[in-house]
Every structure is written in C-alpha cells, then in structure tokens.
Amino acid sequence: MRRIRWAVAIVGSSAVLVSACGGGTSPASGDGGSSSSSQSSSGATAAGGATVASSSTPGSGGAPAAGVLAAGQATAGSFSGRQFSYSGNGGTTQDAQNKIFGDFATVVGASYAPDGPPTAAKVKAQVDSGNVTWDIVDAPEVDLAEGCGTVYQKIDYSKLDTSKLSPLVPKQDCGIALNASPWTFAYDTEAFPQAPTSWADFFDLAKFPGKRAIYAGFPMQQIEIALLGSGVDPGKLAPPDVDAGYAELDKLKSDLVFYSAGSESQQMMASNQIVACICWSGRVYTEIQNGSHWALVPTAPPVLRMDYLAIPIGSKNTDVAYAAINYFIGAQQQAYWQEATGYPPMNVDAKPKLSAAAKAVDVFQPPFKPVTIDVTFWAGDLAAQMDKWTTWTSS
C-alpha cells in the first residue's frame, strides 16, 4: 500500500515538474491581447509615411464634399482626448490594421483600443443591449448585408473621400471595403499540353483531365464560379442560379477532392495530388514561392470574398470612426496594407513595392477582371444554402 502511494506521489509531483519545465520554455514577451495597443501608442512614424494635413484642403484627384479631408489625411490634434476602438479578427491582418489606426490615433491625439473578434452574434448583442463598445468592426460581406440598418449604421458617404476607392469592389450601404480574398483558377503548368484560359476549362474533364480541389467550407463564390464555368456572363451572376451551379459542379464529382483549410490546398498543390483548384490567390502565390510549378489563369475572372469596415449602431464615437476610416483608405495606407498582408489595396492610387511574382498574382491589376457575389441573395438564405452545401459535399 505504502509503495503504491509513493509511486502515485511521484507521478503527482511530476505535475509540478511539467509546469516548471513548460514555464521555463516560454520567455517573457508581450502578451497577445494587448501588444498591439502598446505598439500603436508608441507609433511615431505613420504607416507608409502618410501625410498629416495641416489644413482641410481636399485631395487633388478626387472630389470629396466640402470640408472633408482627402482619403489618407487627418488633422493633427482634431480629436485630442477622444477615444475609439476597432474590433478585428486578429492575426497579421489586424496587426496591419492596428498599425494604421494607431498612427491615425497618434496624429489626431485620440487613444485607440484594438479588440475582437467581432462575431455577428457579439456585435448584435452589443447593439441590442445599447452598450456598444466598438466604433469600427470588421464585417464579412454576408453579415454586413444581413445586419445593414439593424446592426450596422448606413454609411454617410458625404463624410468620406471615396473617390479613389477601387471600382472593382461594389459600394455597400453599411460598409467601406476593407479586404478582398480572391478565389482563383490555379493549375499545374506541367499537367496540360496547353494552358486553360477560362472557368469553362475547369469544368471540362475531357480537355483538361485530372483531379480538382475546391473548398469544403461554404458554397459562396464557388457556386458563382460554377456558373461562370457553365457560360453565365460575369455581369449576370446576381442573383445566382444555385441549382444550375450544382449541376455544373456535379460534372466534376468523380474527380473532385475537398480541402477544408488553406494549408491543405497548398499541400495538394505541392504533392501533385491535383492538377487544378479553386484556391485563394495568396496560397497559390506561396506555393509558387516554394518552387511549385503552379500558375493562375488570369482570363478566368477571380471571385472576391469581401470584408468591410462598418460602424455599429449606437457607437459613441461615430465622428472619430468616420475620420479613422477616411484615413484608412488613403493611398499610402493601402500601399502599406498590401505590403504587410499581401491582400489587394482598395485605393487605386496605392503604389506598393511588390516583387514581379507578387504582381503576377495581384488580381486587382489587368488582365484580371474580378467579380463579386450577390451578398443580398446569400444573406437572405444562408442557413438553407449551407444545408444544401453540406448535403452535396458529404454524399
């Protein structure tokens, strides 16, 4: 008995050992949640060297309403003593957002609090309770369309300089374009004697045989791609004929594999498991950098998945939020955005320093002609569409 107790005690004391060893392996460093705020408050140089307006002269190229600063400008000290918060989804994208918003805060003299995540349920809960702590949030396109006017404020465009915003991205009533993830036609350059040129080729197993991968997570974008493949004009995707989309996808069923995360799509590309995929351009770019012989089909229109900057109803710092958003969409800030995150800039004047390889996958530049989805349609019927998608993928 005593022996057993002793052995148990040793196993027990090893708990302390585990924690001690583990503790020793993690050197002290800034803690994840608040590191960004310290960074922003000390941010002496503005992102991309953004200019600080000394007067309220409108930007040269655009025509914002009188009294509105050109995009990317902010008046020094104009919000001194004020505060605002932004709720994002963490990771490298929020690091870049924190940098830009932090710079804005430094210029105008306000204090900035980054937070997150702004899940639809959380934003709605804040708005419903009237206790809104976020002034700007990252809203995915479908959530934005669903909550426009009930959760998110209608944007007063006269308070912003949107003249330089990319025309490729549709204006939303309740949000300003923040981020575009392009879904593209990627293919193995050694798999076919001649390169594919359109989405129709993706669905043509006779001419371009071999396994294809698509994303397992949701039907949006991919149904539109299927419709493009079946010959629907890119201008006539709203609303999408979902059943026709599934019929087109059915043609691939025998040669279709699913990936459920970006890294999986990369592995499939790298290991020659597939010859083509509907993949995020960023993943294809990484694979090309890793030495894989993959390329995009520029003439097959990429379909964008959009995120927007939105202001929740009941925000107590709406004026600061507008000024911050106006600053965020400036050319220099957006150039910094692309350099830091690899996502396309929303300002047409942005001049990021990019490598030739990075330019080759920049879908906002010709010959790419990106299209977007009908968010109102998807937002109105999301749960039922997800049931349909689950049924289709899991059979």
Partner: protein
C-alpha cells in the same frame, strides 16, 4: 464504501461519542460537496439544460431545430456515420488491446515495464500532437504512401481509413488500461487449472480470460465510444467532408451560422442515440451466458 460502514461499526463498538457533534459532522461532510457540485452544475448541468431548452424552443430560419433535422436527412446520415465510425474504432481497439493487455499481465517485470511505458507515454502526450504526426505520415508522398503505395493513389490522408487509424491510436490506451486492470485481478490459478485439465492455451484464453475480463473491456469500450463520438478536431484534420462526423457540423452551425438551437438539437440527438446504443450493448452483453456468469 466499506470504510464508512467500518466507521459506523467502530463507533458503535468503541467509547460512546457525544451525539450532537456526530450529527453536525455528517451534515458538515455533506457540505464539503457543495463547491464541486456548484461547479459541475454551473458549468455542465445548467448549460446542458439550456441546450435542451434551446433545442426545443429556438426557431432559426422559421423552423424548429428538430423539424430542421428531419427536413435535412444529411444530418441524420452524419450522426449515423459518427456512430459507425465509433463502433468500428471500439472493435479495433478491443482486438488490439486484448493481446497487449494479456502479454502485459503474463510478462516478466522488465517487459511489463516497457509495455506500461509504451501505453502511458501516448496516454500523456497531447492527442493533437499525435494527430499531427499522422498528417505527416499519411500525406500523399509521405512515408506510409511510399512504403505501401498500393493503399491508394493519393495517399491515405483525408480518407475514412486515416480517421480510423488516428482514432484507434489515440484511444487505444483507454482500452488497454482498464482491460489490464481487470485481467490482473483474475486469479491465475484458474488459468493454470484450465491448462492442467488439458485445455489448450487459446481455449483457456477464450474460456477463462475473456469472460473474466469482460467488465474491463466493457469499461474501455464505453470510454472509447464516448470519446470518439465527441471528437471533432481529429476527424477534421485527418478526414474530409465525405467522412465528416457530427462534431464538424455542430461547430459550423455554432461558429459560422450562430444557430445554437440547431447545434444543440444535433448534439442531443446524437446523445440520445448513444444512450440507446449503449443500453442495447449492455442488454446484449447480459444475454451472453458466459459474460453473465462472469459479471
């Protein structure tokens, strides 16, 4: 339990203790349970009740959750697949655990030590780390693919086989440990008696060891089954939509669509199915004559 009875007996036999403190003591002992019960009731019990209510009351997409499940047979199919996968995992675990535990019992000290460490190390190492190891091994062009190329053109990753291999490896210690425990307590003279009466090794094993260790196997099976039902991450990493288990659907309904009523209804339907299955297995087990004698 024996302890408490002994206490009572001792108390009665020993010098008379004052009555008042004894009553207070018993009440005090019950009070000791309160913090733990509050924690479990608050974090497990109350949320469970909320889930049950949500699953019946919440209307999402103009539909009650259970009506939605019946309208979409795919979800019942996925629940069925979850059960099937878990049952196969249990069977594989039983088949692999029996010889292992048996050798553990029979082996000399050194070998038993090695075998014990071999079970304990994976038991303690994060299941997630072991899942990740299978990603490396099973990926297309990976070691398994090269050693056994006939298994599949594109590697085994993201197939049903991969999910089962991962499940069995992660859950095997849950089967081996209780089995070893119950085999260890078998009186070895029974085995020797059987053998001395001329029974062959295998016969002795199946007629003596298997029935007598059945409770251990039952416990292991229960643990493996329940754990496997709740698994989400392993199936997500090693499987594909065609092998998806109910955990993935519950997670999508919660995190992507915020339909907590539907998520609750799905998980409760699975729980109800599990209770029925376990009950059926228990009855079946009692019907097997040998097992009843042993139990």
């Amino acid at each position: 339990m024996a302890t408490t009875q002994d206490v009572g007996a001792d108390r009665r036999a020993g010098p008379p203790a004052p009555a008042a403190p004894r009553a207070r003591r018993s009440r005090f002992d019950a009070l000791l349970l309160i913090p733990a019960l509050l924690l479990i009731l608050g974090v497990v019990g109350y949320p469970f009740v909320v889930s049950v209510i949500d699953s019946f009351v919440k209307v999402e997409g103009r539909q009650h959750a259970y009506a939605w499940i019946t309208a979409n047979p795919v979800y019942l199919r996925i629940i069925g697949r979850t059960f099937l996968t878990s049952v196969v995992a249990v069977v594989l675990c039983v088949l692999l655990a029996y010889p292992y535990a048996y050798v553990m019992v029979l082996a000399g000290r050194r070998i038993r030590l090695v075998l014990t460490v071999a079970v304990l190390v994976p038991f303690w190492v994060s299941g997630l780390v072991r899942t990740f190891a299978w990603v490396i091994l099973l990926q297309s062009g990976g070691p398994v693919d090269r050693l056994l190329p006939f298994l599949g053109r594109d590697g085994l990753l993201h197939t049903q086989t991969a999910v089962l291999v991962g499940l069995v490896q992660v859950l095997l210690p849950f089967m081996i440990l209780p089995l070893y425990n119950s085999m260890q307590s078998i009186d070895r003279r029974l085995l020797q008696a059987a053998e001395s009466l001329g029974a062959r090794q295998t016969v002795a094993f199946f007629r003596v060891v298997v029935p007598l260790s059945a409770p251990g196997a039952g416990a292991g099976a229960l643990l493996v089954f329940v754990t496997s039902l709740g698994i989400y991450v392993l199936a997500q990493i090693l499987g594909s939509p065609a092998t998806s288990m109910i955990g993935s659907v519950v997670y999508t309904q919660t995190s992507q669509l915020n339909n907590t009523g539907r998520a609750a209804a799905l998980s409760l339907s699975m729980l109800a199915g599990a209770v029925v299955l376990i009950g059926a297995a228990y009855l079946l087990f009692r019907l097997v004559p040998g097992a009843r004698r042993a139990g």
